[in-house]
């Protein structure tokens, strides 16, 4: 267990290093440069500034400086926002995105398992058809459409009620969180529902369920003890990659609902060519994803005894 975890962490560090290197060189090949401003600058001042920030050094030296800072945990200073280091921006904004993302993932996982199990129980009956229709909608309609529609819906509901039941946008309370999290988790929930349904159907026809019936166990016990745990395994497997989908999907939802999260900031940084913020956020998201995938693998080993973590 411990050797496995340590091995995974080392692999994770190497992955993050790859991401950081790729980001560095990709940013370097982007046209334009950080000192290109609307204010005219004499060549002397420009040369002085480049010397100050090491921009006149060979690429490899710049890379070493960047990596050294990265290892120290210093992601640099924003080129656009005054007096803000990238570390400050992330520590200020990321919790907002994280709360939203975790809630979305939670809703998606719980919803996916419940809806998937229901469709399997009512296979080829009306509830199955209705849920599967909604699932197709959830997968195919992009999140900005769902986000905008849900805002429209909220406006109408609030108008009908004569007061603000649920805020349409913004940040601050739990109520602000609910609808964005639901919208953000929707496509993942739809995907997990389909996965859970097929996995449940496969398990229903398996030999060990027949054994459980032959043992005379009540249906509820067969469902909870024998079907659910085995059917949930594939769902847990995809949770790791789904974290990536939810965090990237977060950009759109954060903008539509005016949530001050990191995703929205990231998109703005790209638009404004805020070099350090782009690189820092990319590396941070990469590291976050790696951590989530390792976490899911460890959980998987706990749920499925056949997975030997030592190997």
């Amino acid at each position: 267990m411990w050797t496995y975890s340590i091995k995974r962490v080392i692999q994770g560090i190497i992955t993050v290093w790859f991401i950081a290197t790729a980001t560095f060189f990709a940013m370097h090949s982007v046209p334009g440069d950080p000192l290109l401003n609307d204010r005219a600058m004499s060549p002397e001042i420009r040369a002085n500034l480049e010397a100050k920030y090491g921009l006149d050094q060979p690429l490899l030296t710049q890379y070493v400086v960047y990596m050294t800072n990265l290892v120290r945990g210093d992601l640099g200073i924003s080129f656009v926002h005054e007096n803000q280091s990238v570390n400050d921006i992330i520590s200020e904004r990321f919790p907002v995105s994280a709360i939203l993302g975790i809630l979305a993932l939670f809703i998606a996982a719980i919803g996916g398992v419940i809806w998937g199990a229901l469709t399997a129980l009512y296979r080829n009956q009306l509830p199955d058809y209705i849920i599967m229709f909604l699932v197709i909608l959830g997968i195919s309609v992009p999140s900005f459409v769902v986000a905008a529609l849900s805002q429209l819906f909220l406006v109408n509901v609030n108008e009908l009620a004569g007061r603000t039941l649920l805020p349409v946008a913004g940040w601050g309370s739990v109520l602000h969180l609910l609808v964005p999290a639901l919208v953000l988790g929707l496509s993942t929930m739809a995907y997990l529902t389909r996965l859970m349904r097929s996995s449940m159907l496969e398990i229903t026809n398996s030999d060990f369920i027949r054994t459980a019936k032959a043992k005379g166990l009540p249906p509820a016990r067969i469902f909870t003890r024998h079907q659910l745990r085995n059917a949930i395994l594939p769902v847990v497997t995809v949770l790791g990659p789904q974290v990536a989908i939810i965090t990237t999907g977060g950009f759109v939802v954060e903008i539509v609902f005016a949530i001050p999260g990191l995703g929205r900031f990231f998109v703005e940084a790209v638009q404004q060519l805020d070099y350090t913020v782009i690189m820092g956020t990319t590396v941070f998201y990469g590291a976050f994803l790696v951590v989530m995938v390792i976490l899911v693998d460890l959980i998987y080993g706990y749920i499925d005894p056949r997975i030997k973590l030592e190997q």
């Binding site: 060990f208 005379g216 003890r225 085995n230 005894p305 056949r306």
Partner: protein, 344 residues
């Protein structure tokens, strides 16, 4: 069944018929099966794949998925109480409590994410009201009874840590946990290699002697039948074509299909060795079951009547009967291979 056995049998199955709705139409998988099983006795049901032997026992256990399955006719009585379509008789659950069942492939018949001990303990908790701790302790005893070494340690392991033979032992322990009066074994040794087969069969026989349970053994292996069975029912195309004691069926086969099965079986005894003869052709399509005898198209002795009318029961002994027109009095020249009753 014959009128001579007036006293109540442990299990009496009468005229059982089961159908399945499929996209291709209605499959009549079982078309009127009857047999009885006595306390402490082993009945073997033999026949080739698709003859309805598994469906027969699964309908007794209530394991037929309905729909698409349907029991159209017949009854199965345990100590005189109807079990078809019921979950309990006399306040006792049938499945797992009155009748235990083991299956063909032990590797897939156990829940992969639950410990062996927990799985054996389950019926005790559900049917006998054991606490979890009590049931688990009893599960360890049952594993010991099934001759699994280091039972206490093994009970905490998962199915993937067991070999096939060990898993079948665990299945037996599980099926017998509530001391059922009948154990149904649906091809229990088909998926195991030969040495393990013998061990599993020995174990079943030992446990039968200890508990006095009846065993219904489904198999297509005549070697297993010879070793285990008291009585044999030979099934073909959803019907029992011959029924008798194991000696009747092996030494006095009275149906051409039984003879065919015997000719297709290898023999270790030098004097009895013969060339293996396959039964040509394939079983009839049960979407449109044959009007007459199902074996007619493959039967080397088929007569005109065989394709048109169902044979009636011809008794050749108290328990021995065959459903074949060759036993009719009008047939003067009977095949040599067939056992016939001498007319006095």
């Amino acid at each position: 069944m014959s009128a001579s056995s007036k006293q109540q049998k442990l299990l009496e199955v009468e005229n059982l018929a089961v159908e399945f709705d499929t996209y291709g139409g209605v499959v009549k998988a079982v078309r009127g099966v009857d047999f009885t099983v006595d306390q402490g006795e082993t009945l073997a049901i033999v026949g080739e794949s698709g003859c309805g032997k598994s469906v027969t026992v699964q309908s007794i256990m209530g394991l037929i998925p309905m729909p698409p399955g349907r029991i159209t006719e017949g009854s199965a009585r345990l100590r005189g109480h109807e079990v078809l379509g019921r979950n309990a008789i006399d306040g006792k659950d049938i499945r797992g409590s009155e009748i235990g069942m083991i299956f063909q492939d032990p590797m897939t018949s156990l829940n992969p994410t639950m410990t062996i001990g927990d799985q054996i303990a389950e019926p005790l908790q559900v049917h006998r009201g054991y606490s979890y701790q009590g049931a688990f302790k009893e599960a360890v005893n049952l594993l010991e009874m099934s001759k699994i070494p280091e039972a206490a340690k093994r009970a905490k392991q998962y199915p993937f840590e067991f070999s096939g033979g060990m898993l079948q032992r665990a299945m037996i322990a599980m099926a017998l946990s509530c001391k059922p009066s009948i154990l149904i074994a649906d091809e229990p040794t088909t998926a195991l290699d030969v040495t393990i087969q013998a061990q599993i069969l020995d174990l079943m026989q030992d446990l039968q002697k200890e508990t006095g349970m009846a065993i219904i053994l489904i198999t297509h292996d005549l070697g297993v039948v010879a070793r285990m069975a008291d009585e044999v029912a030979v099934m073909y195309a959803g019907k029992v074509v011959e029924h008798g004691t194991v000696d009747d069926v092996f030494y006095r086969p009275a149906h051409p299909y039984t003879v065919g099965l015997k000719d297709a079986m290898p023999n270790n005894d030098r004097e009895l060795q013969h060339e293996l003869k396959p039964i040509e052709g394939s079983p009839p399509d049960l979407f449109s079951p044959p009007v007459g005898c199902g074996y007619c198209p493959r039967c080397p002795h088929a007569m005109n009547i065989c394709g048109n009318r169902h044979p009636i029961d011809y008794f050749l002994g108290d328990h021995h009967f065959s459903r074949c027109w060759l036993h009719a009095e009008q047939v003067t020249e009977k095949p040599e291979s067939l056992y016939v009753r001498e007319h006095n």
